[in-house]
């Protein structure tokens, strides 16, 4: 396979035994947070994608276990409150989470158990990166992976506001933001993500974005043939498409899958905060500063005159000394 110089094509292959150099470096960065002048990438990697076929998921959480193991995170042992989600939410130690929904299909009146593996979608237009104020804390590679570079993270939580999917989590321990890396460190050495590798039903598959779209087409055709006429691919255009995609049996209603947004995009509030507010704001402050300077240099200072001092002296003298202390 030609994957040695480009993106891996699958998650199922086993790694070679000899050590490998990382194939994902500074020359592959196409966007860098809070950085306007970025050297152009030295090459264009083939875009990759993870495809999650919700209809094939059995909810075993092997992906979560694989994620914890590969990333060496340590989620706290939680408490059973009578729901299947474990832990209860994404955390700085749990980058992916199976979200379970019991949904009654009104057309068939039958209960459907919807299981969606939640995690970073690796947007082509990442809101986290747009919002981030720290240079180089978030990067996007030409293969589509959006990655957090923790040593540059300042823990401000702006990425949380930028994300249309509510994914990043700030650690209370080290005050840095964490999320799924799409196993960028595995992809860098020709391997697919740990979750895809571990998935026993191949509900999670990985490869080039083109291949994954084609694979999804086959899955969607199969689902349609079995009565899911609204089956479809979730690759939302509002964020420029994503590098984690879903096959949904009810693609017309993504929100039934534990609130998957129907048409996600970067909030206009975030856009105007990072756009017009920044430029108009800097212009306004600059105008005030320069205006003051110009008035100060070319204008005449407002000085108190000798006559005014004398007028004040006359006023106070005419007032006379204060009367002596308490009367007898």
């Amino acid at each position: 396979m030609s994957g040695s110089t480009d993106s891996p094509r699958t998650a199922v292959s086993n790694p070679p035994v000899q050590p490998m150099a990382s194939n994902l470096g500074a020359g592959d960065v196409i966007r860098r947070s809070a950085t306007s002048e970025l050297p152009p990438p030295t090459r264009q990697l083939t875009p990759v994608a993870k495809l999650i076929d919700v209809s094939k998921c059995i909810g075993c959480k092997a992906c979560q276990s694989a994620c914890i193991e590969w990333n060496d995170t340590h989620p706290a042992i939680g408490e059973n409150v009578g729901v299947y989600e474990n832990p209860h939410d994404l955390t700085e130690n749990m980058f992916t989470l199976m979200r379970f929904t019991e949904w009654v299909n009104p057309a068939t009146d039958s209960l459907e158990w919807l299981i969606r593996k939640d995690g970073c979608m690796h947007c082509a237009d990442p809101g986290c990166l747009k919002a981030c104020p720290a240079p180089g804390a978030i990067v996007q590679y030409s293969n589509g992976i959006v990655d957090f570079i923790h040593e540059n993270c300042i823990g401000c939580g702006y990425c949380v506001k930028g994300c249309p999917f509510n994914i990043p989590r700030i650690s209370k321990a080290d005050h840095r933001s964490y999320k799924c890396t799409l196993c960028s460190d595995r992809v860098a050495v020709g391997q697919g993500p740990a979750c895809a590798k571990a998935c026993p039903t191949q509900a999670i598959v990985f490869g080039t974005k083109e291949d994954m779209k084609k694979h999804a087409e086959g899955r969607i055709a199969d689902l349609k043939s079995r009565g899911y006429d609204q089956a479809g691919l979730y690759d939302p255009p509002g964020v420029g498409g994503t590098h984690v995609m879903y096959v949904l049996h009810h693609a017309d209603k993504p929100q039934i899958y534990a609130g998957l947004p129907e048409n996600p995009s970067i909030s206009p509030l975030v856009q105007s905060w990072k756009g017009v507010t920044k430029y108009v704001g800097i212009a306004a402050m600059g105008f005030m500063a320069v205006g003051s300077l110009v008035h100060g240099v070319f204008g005449r200072a407002n000085r108190v005159t000798r006559e005014e001092e004398e007028a004040a002296e006359r006023l106070v003298d005419s007032a006379g000394p204060p009367p002596p202390g308490p009367r007898p």
């Binding site: 104020p133 003051s292 108190v304 002296e313 204060p322």
Partner: protein
């Protein structure tokens, strides 16, 4: 035998506790006591530190300013605490000054002659109390913006309050916070510049006093009241 009635305690309109005139050449007028000045400079330092650290996170071009605070992580951690300090110190100051900053009819006249204000033609302006309309604008503008900044700032204080506010609300908060910050920096520049341009003002916040001529030129009603107070004896 009857003792003459004591003069009625004068009702002070413009003067505030601690304000007084001292005859001399020139006359000296006490405008701010030591605690008010200390508090003013705590507020001022906080605002400057907040502006620097906030601008560093506002635009990548100024992110380098975080080095002044020991890096991005420290800037992120310190900024909100400085905000709390500013909020407290400003509102202590506010409690002392708000009465003298209530709008008056003469403020409208003053504002209608804003050309004379900017040109420094005090002779065309009405006599004023302790504060002019520009100072009052700065006072109330700062007060309103600081309230807005502390409220939105708490909402986006990731370390302690992220769990209490939803993400859509926090998006509003961060936008409002940044706009309010831009406005308060503009008001701050106006405040500093006006204090420098109007010569003889800065000493009110350093030594606590101004000259009689300064008071005569800019706040004559206030000066007249203080002079009258002297005639009648100090207020009890």
């Amino acid at each position: 035998m009857s003792t003459p009635p004591r003069p009625a305690k004068p009702r002070l309109v413009y003067a505030q506790p601690g304000d007084a005139v001292e005859p001399g050449h020139p006359v000296t007028v006490s405008r701010y006591g030591p605690w008010a000045r200390v508090n003013h400079w705590i507020t001022a330092s906080s605002l400057i530190l907040l502006a620097i650290s906030g601008l560093a996170l506002f635009t990548p071009a100024l992110f380098f300013l975080t080095t002044l605070f020991g890096g991005g992580q420290n800037t992120r951690a310190l900024h909100p605490w400085i905000g709390v300090l500013l909020f407290v110190s400003f509102f202590v100051f506010f409690a002392q000054l708000w009465r003298a900053n209530l709008p008056a009819k003469v403020d409208v006249v003053w504002l209608s002659k804003i050309k004379d204000v900017v040109g420094g033609h005090e002779e065309n302006l009405p006599e004023l109390g302790k504060y002019n309309a520009g100072q009052k604008f700065i006072f109330w503008g700062m007060a309103a913006l600081i309230l807005l900044l502390i409220a939105t700032g708490v909402m986006i204080w990731e370390q302690y309050f992220s769990a209490y506010f939803g993400i859509p609300l926090r998006r509003w908060a961060v936008l409002v916070h940044s706009i309010a910050a831009v406005l308060i920096i503009c008001i701050f520049i106006l405040h500093v510049y006006a204090a420098i341009w109007t010569r003889g003002t800065l000493r009110a916040m350093t030594r606590g006093t101004v000259t009689g001529g300064w008071a005569w030129r800019h706040h004559r009603k206030w000066l007249r009241e203080l002079a009258g107070l002297r005639r009648r004896g100090p207020a009890e």
